[in-house]
């Protein structure tokens, strides 16, 4: 009797599906990031976005190469595990987990901010409890949907992403066409240039607008011809997001507004970027800027808040789904206790992972919302954390988690280039130096080094400028490491070393499952040639 093989993930994700999978995650970031960066970096917001954007391009290229070479679900955590071993794989995965839990709270928070444009009762400043309860309700609702196995479909993601790209292109094109003044841009940059501290803070928050490229890698196993498609979808995603982020920043600094800007809290006139970056508005800056586009703003005022809210909700959901999925993958890989592998017998969903990490995100939400809910806490936060709270706090931690995991991904890329030169790379980051490493010809990626320096700089900026981030971020990593060591000790697994894996056969299997048969043949031929060379050298 023949034995049926294990069911595998179906390769049903098309190029547009792969792109929209990433876009529904990264595309929402600018809805949150724009206001935060304008509030911090003022007249240098465009430069802050440019700096973070250059680092993001390097990150994007690194992810593109790795996801095309190792098309497996797992993303950054898998690449680091494979390149640097178990403990670093754990730290990278744990940092991504932090990002996913923040993602849930931050995007649900911002989703309600956008809705408050149409429903003022949800505005955080006058109605903090209503805002908090709706955010909490959304998070619990998303957790419940994921618990019973309901997810938004790829088709829905694709539809919303397409609609958003058209909408953002229209806002930016018409904004530059009818309301942009280069003289005003230069004037704003000259008169509102931030202090170095504010600039560093702006850069560290600008990276928030570029987080989520991971999603394309996470879906690599389900993507058709991943080695060919992922480089295209990733590159397109990088370019699209970069164009949007830089355009919004420049437009916000150099735009003649259609409607007058309200006076600030002290009754003084304020510029557009000041209005967008204040604490009342920084969670919904894109909707407000869209409103200021001549003619189009009248229509945009109604649909952009709704579109933004939907995109942010999808992004929040990807946090719920992503955190449970990565915890499940880490547990299967022996990095987290097996309880995170536990699947609900009826719904077939990783319920323990879902409940634990949604609970963590609820704790983060409570910590972020406390000062607006209780004036005594506001005073305490002012004393301890420089008055930071709410969306700033979530943004801080989001930047910390992203910068940490991205740093490891760059090192993993360099390590894998040296230790695994035989794996065929259909996409390779340009600018490489040929080297010989352990008897094999390899290529050292210069851009990975530059990207690593850039992301470490952002990590340092985050630690310097965010009082909560520099405490909560490292504490999260230390807590994770304690759990990791306890678990590994109990299981009798090596604490600092990795347990042995057969990467060669695993890579052949990965390429076979991905349907990249030509690459599989090439890899097998590379292995054979390498073995023959080594045998000859030994003789």
């Amino acid at each position: 009797m023949s034995k049926t093989s294990q069911p595998e993930l179906r390769r049903s994700v098309t190029p547009w599906g792969s792109f929209s999978w990433g876009y529904s995650d990264v595309g929402a970031d600018i809805f949150v990031g724009l206001g935060l960066v304008l509030g911090a970096a003022a007249g240098a917001s465009n430069v802050a976005f440019l700096f973070a954007g250059i680092v993001y391009v390097c990150i994007g290229l690194a992810y593109t190469e790795l996801a095309a070479t190792y098309p497996v679900a797992g993303g950054g955590q898998y690449f680091v595990l494979r390149g640097l071993g178990d403990i670093f794989g754990f730290i990278a995965g744990w940092a991504v987990l932090l990002d996913f839990t923040i993602d849930i709270a931050l995007f649900a928070w911002s989703c309600v901010d956008y809705l408050s444009e149409l429903l003022p009762v949800l505005n955080n400043a006058p109605h903090p409890w209503a805002h908090f309860i709706v955010v909490l309700g959304l998070m619990i609702g998303l957790c419940t949907l994921n618990f019973i196995g309901v997810r938004e479909s790829t088709a829905f993601n694709g539809f919303v992403s397409g609609l958003d790209i058209i909408s953002e292109t229209a806002i930016l094109t018409l904004g530059f066409l009818f309301a942009f003044s280069p003289h005003l841009l230069v004037h704003t940059m000259q008169t509102s240039w931030p202090t170095p501290f504010e600039f560093m803070k702006g850069i560290s928050l600008a990276i928030v607008s570029f987080v989520g490229l991971e999603s394309i890698s996470q879906a690599a196993e389900e993507t058709q011809r991943p080695a060919s498609i992922i480089p295209r979808t990733s590159t397109a995603l990088i370019l699209t997001i970069l164009i949007f982020a830089l355009s919004y920043a420049n437009l916000a600094l150099g735009m003649h507004t259609w409607h007058p800007i309200p006076l600030d809290a002290h009754g003084h006139p304020q510029m557009l970027w000041q209005w967008l970056g204040n604490t009342d508005n920084n969670g919904k800056a894109v909707a407000l800027i869209a409103k200021q586009v001549p003619y189009w703003g009248a229509i945009a005022a109604f649909y952009v808040p709704v579109l933004g809210a939907i995109l942010l909700l999808i992004s929040s959901n990807s946090g719920v789904f992503g955190s449970s999925r990565i915890a499940y993958a880490m547990s299967k890989g022996g990095l987290l206790p097996s309880i995170f592998e536990r699947v609900h017998p009826r719904f077939r969903t990783p319920t323990v992972s879902l409940l634990v990490f949604t609970s963590v995100s609820i704790l983060e939400l409570i910590f972020a919302a406390l000062p607006s809910l209780d004036p005594n806490m506001a005073a305490l936060y002012a004393r301890l954390f420089n008055g930071e709270s709410g969306i700033d706090f979530l943004g801080d931690l989001y930047a910390f988690g992203a910068a940490t995991s991205y740093s490891f991904v760059f090192i993993a890329l360099i390590a894998l280039r040296l230790t695994d030169p035989l794996s065929p790379r259909k996409f390779k980051i340009p600018l490489n130096i040929p080297v010989n490493f352990r008897g094999e010809r390899a290529e050292f990626p210069v851009i990975a080094v530059l990207g690593f320096i850039g992301i470490v700089a952002i990590l340092v900026f985050t630690m310097i400028t965010h009082p909560i981030g520099r405490i909560a971020g490292p504490s999260w990593i230390v807590l994770g490491l304690i759990l990791y060591f306890i678990y590994r000790k109990r299981k009798g697994l090596p604490l600092l070393h990795s347990h042995k894996r057969d990467w060669r056969n695993e890579q052949l299997e990965i390429l076979r499952r991905a349907g990249e048969l030509e690459l599989m043949d090439e890899y097998a031929a590379n292995l054979k040639a390498s073995d023959e060379r080594r045998a000859k050298a030994a003789v």
Partner: protein
């Protein structure tokens, strides 16, 4: 500055940046959605092109020996997908003992039934079909002559009728047409015990 009033400000820089944003986004997405084909995709595309060519004009053959109803259903589905011309013919072999245009009421009645069923299949599949009854001394020659005249790309044949086995596994007429035809020939033989996907209860292969 090109134009400025209280409502709008149009500048050269603004126009250029707006155009660059629009072109860059459209070009990026277009490039992303048009990846080069892989070897496997090229093979699939060649096969699809071949199929399009193959089913440009399809002749489905019925006769006393050839039972083609199930193949007519398949040909109609092919034709509906590929928008090809469909022609169903019933060939009545006239023995040499009779004149070529001799009346053969029993065979003609069977032909009307077969072609009526063919038309119904075509209607149900939403394709148009031409039908014709041909009297000839040899089914093979009639089919090959018609295929040549109609510039057929594909001849579709069913299996031999039960009790008409004449020494060739598929039926002599079917094998001769397949051997001598200048175009592609599709032959469908019905399994004795259901299909590969479904086995009739009680058949030797069923559990």
């Amino acid at each position: 500055m090109i134009y400025h009033n209280d409502a709008v400000t149009i500048t050269v820089a603004g126009v250029v940046i707006a155009a660059v944003i629009m072109v860059a986004i459209v070009a990026t997405l277009w490039w992303m959605l048009h990846p080069p084909a892989s070897f496997v995709q090229k093979l699939a595309r060649e096969a699809e092109t071949e199929l399009e060519r193959m089913v440009g004009s399809v002749v489905v053959v019925f006769s006393q020996e050839i039972e083609s109803n199930h193949m007519m259903a398949l040909a109609a589905k092919l034709a509906s997908g590929e928008k090809s011309e469909l022609l169903a013919i019933y060939v009545i072999e006239v023995p040499y003992t009779l004149p070529p245009d001799a009346a053969m009421p029993v065979e003609e009645r069977a032909a009307l039934d077969a072609l009526g069923a063919a038309e119904t299949i075509a209607t149900n599949t939403d394709v148009s079909v031409r039908t014709d009854i041909i009297k000839a001394r040899s089914t093979k020659q009639a089919v090959l002559d018609l295929a040549k005249r109609e510039k057929a790309n594909l001849i579709v044949l069913g299996s031999f009728r039960e009790g008409k086995y004449s020494g060739a596994p598929l039926g002599r007429t079917i094998e001769e047409i397949a051997a001598d035809a200048k175009c592609d020939v599709l032959i469908g033989v019905e399994g004795k015990h259901g299909t590969l996907l479904y086995e009739e209860p009680g058949s030797p292969a069923s559990p």
